[in-house]
């Protein structure tokens, strides 16, 4: 999608026009283009769901699926929850929506091995360019905040049994170190340490009180 159209969309979203169902076509095309071109615009997607909420007769299930799948690609942000809150009972009853919600649930619970198994049984993620790598990015994020060193085999499993070449490129991307059986993620001592909260009382905050006692 060229910049001109995005500009139009930004204008629509800024004003009361965002509730005008006449814009659904252009917004839905925008969702499809996000899926195809691996771009992402949460606000526009929520606006589409809101238009469905206001005009249930205009509900489009395929677009709903794309929006939800795109929200999966933006973990660890809670976009998926935001989308889910706007779904109508009819959408919640849709089988594909149910499956996507199930996948999101597994991802949120960080059961990544199960996720790869379940996602392999579906065919709809093929419509989302860069879907798997977006999920791997999220997994790397969780690994990055959790581990100092991690077993290499385990890391490979978390990332969906990727081959050595792909693993090496993820390790490089995040600046981790391959140490044979282990992968060194980062030194966490500095980020994660015991905090001591001691009471500090500023003179200013007591000045008034003390003045009152005179």
């Amino acid at each position: 999608m060229d910049d001109g159209k995005e500009l139009i969309i930004a204008d629509i979203l800024k004003s009361i026009e965002r509730y005008n169902p006449d814009h659904l076509n252009i917004l839905e095309a925008y969702v499809a283009s996000q899926a195809k071109n691996n771009t992402y615009d949460l606000e526009a997607n929520l606006a589409v769901l809101k238009l469905y909420q206001f005009n249930p007769n205009k509900l489009n299930y395929n677009i709903t699926h794309l929006i939800l799948l795109k929200a999966l690609t933006n973990f660890p942000h809670t976009d998926f929850t935001l989308c889910k809150c706007l779904l109508l009972p009819a959408q919640m009853d849709d089988d594909t929506v149910k499956t996507i919600i199930y996948l999101a649930d597994i991802l949120e619970s960080c059961d990544f091995a199960l996720f790869w198994m379940k996602v392999g049984m579906t065919d709809f993620v093929a419509n989302i360019t860069g879907f798997y790598d977006s999920i791997r990015k999220f997994i790397c994020h969780v690994v990055g905040i959790t581990f100092q060193t991690i077993e290499k085999d385990y890391l490979v499993r978390l990332l969906g049994d990727i081959d050595g070449y792909a693993l090496a490129s993820w390790i490089k991307k995040y600046g981790w170190k391959d140490e044979g059986d282990l992968v060194f993620i980062a030194s966490q001592d500095n980020n994660i340490k015991t905090k001591n909260i001691t009471e500090k009382i500023e003179f200013e905050s007591l000045a008034q009180l003390m003045a009152g006692c005179l």
Binding site: L42, E108, S109, I145, I197
Partner: protein, 541 residues
Amino acid sequence: MYAMNDYDDQDYVYDYDGHTGDPQLDAEYLYNSHHSKRAIPDEVEKFIKHFCAAIQNGNVFEIQNMYENLFPSLSEKYYEKNDWPSDKDIKFINDKNFLILYKELYFRHIHARSKNPSLQMRSNSFLNYCDLFNLILLSETPVQLELPDIWLWELVDEFVYQFQNFAYYRARLTDKSESDKQDLNTNAAKHWNILCILNVLHSLIDTSNIKIQLEVAESGGDPESVAGEFGRHSFYKMLGYFSLIGLLRLHSILGDYYQAIKVLEPIEIHKKSQFTHIPACQISTSYYVGFAYMMMRRYSDAIRTFSSILLYIQRTKQLYSSRSYQNDQINKQTDQMYHLLAICLVLHPQCIDESLQQVLREKNYHENMYKMQCRDMDVFRNFFIFGAPKFVSPCPPPLNGEIADFHKEPIDHQTEVFLDEVRQQIELPTIRSYLKLYTTLPLEKLAAFMKPGMSEDDERFVSNLLINLLCFKHKMKNIVWTKGPSGLAGKFQSGSELDFYIDNEMIHIADTKVSHRYGDFFVRKILKFEELNRRLHQFKI
């Protein structure tokens, strides 16, 4: 003369006799048949005349006194069981603008008195709001009206409330008469339409230029310079500001938490400003913002928002002790926020102000918090339902579908979304309770704690534990607002009191140690002592 529970019967009376289908005519019929027989007490007639004069003269202090004190006390004295005189009954007034304002109060009183006003009343109230907003928004020059800010706030808040109440009413099909149902699909179909509500609020915001005014004020400039012809008037400026809060509430009850926070972008909610002098508005803002944060899993932000407003309420609570409709709402919202705060603290334990801890202790929240830590989903559910706003659907239920009650669907949906989130992290409190005891702990040992009786080398348990630990880290690392006007912006932080990392097979734990605080304790005792001293001095022996 009708009392609260007479409403349903009355609807039927009109169906058989004199019901025209036109809400305006029906309402007239209703007024004529009931009200004209009732004499207006002298005191009330005098009040209405003075009220009208005060508004014509733009005497804000007098208006405020009449609005805040006299109207409620007369309501209590004469109209606890009846409606105020309708506009048809106060023929001695012929100021059109005053009549619209008067009717706003008249319908508001009906909504407050009867929890379930008739369809006609709801429709007429809507039409009166249309008159009012047309008067304000379609005028070529700013209308010459000065109303106290408290009225303007309650006007906008009530407008959204009546929409919410109508949407809830509309979704309940089983308690409606045939003619009401028909009216809902025909005459009243466009009443309280969501687009209309949005349009009013957006128009009030645009006309007042409030967004750009707030931005300019924020950057140190003079808001007057960008206010425009309308926005220069306090009347429009305040309506614009309150409409932003109205949108916050509206988006929240539709489940759109992103927009809810987004519409507040020009406002820094934790900052004092010229707009923050209406306590009910402040409290309501924090309630919806905190709730939206909680739904976005931004627990740190939710806890900060709730704490700061609850402390404010604690400091000023003597203001809300008298019984009034405003205070009832404030007290209810306070209770709701303590419930939500309790949920947030279970999911995201964090240090909060000692005086709030004390309330949680004294009011027995701790027992329920303990139950939630022990995975009691029912307590989560009850706390959520009590604490959450009343969600509604923006659309009427399907026209020719089944006759059922759809009004619970929106709250059920939001509850399920929230409980899904809780279920995903239900193991975390248990893990946290073990981790708290150690500074380092091997994975296998923790796995053995979690599943007593397993053999030390059972890999399945360890791999399950690892999943939970990953989940712990993921769920506890959230966006936290740091600075700037956008409540949506922020940085990923681990704000909870316990954190850890895994080095191959060893868990390294970092806890937060809080040393005893004495400052608060002494400050409170000093204040108490002062108060005692002051009272002693007042004694005349």
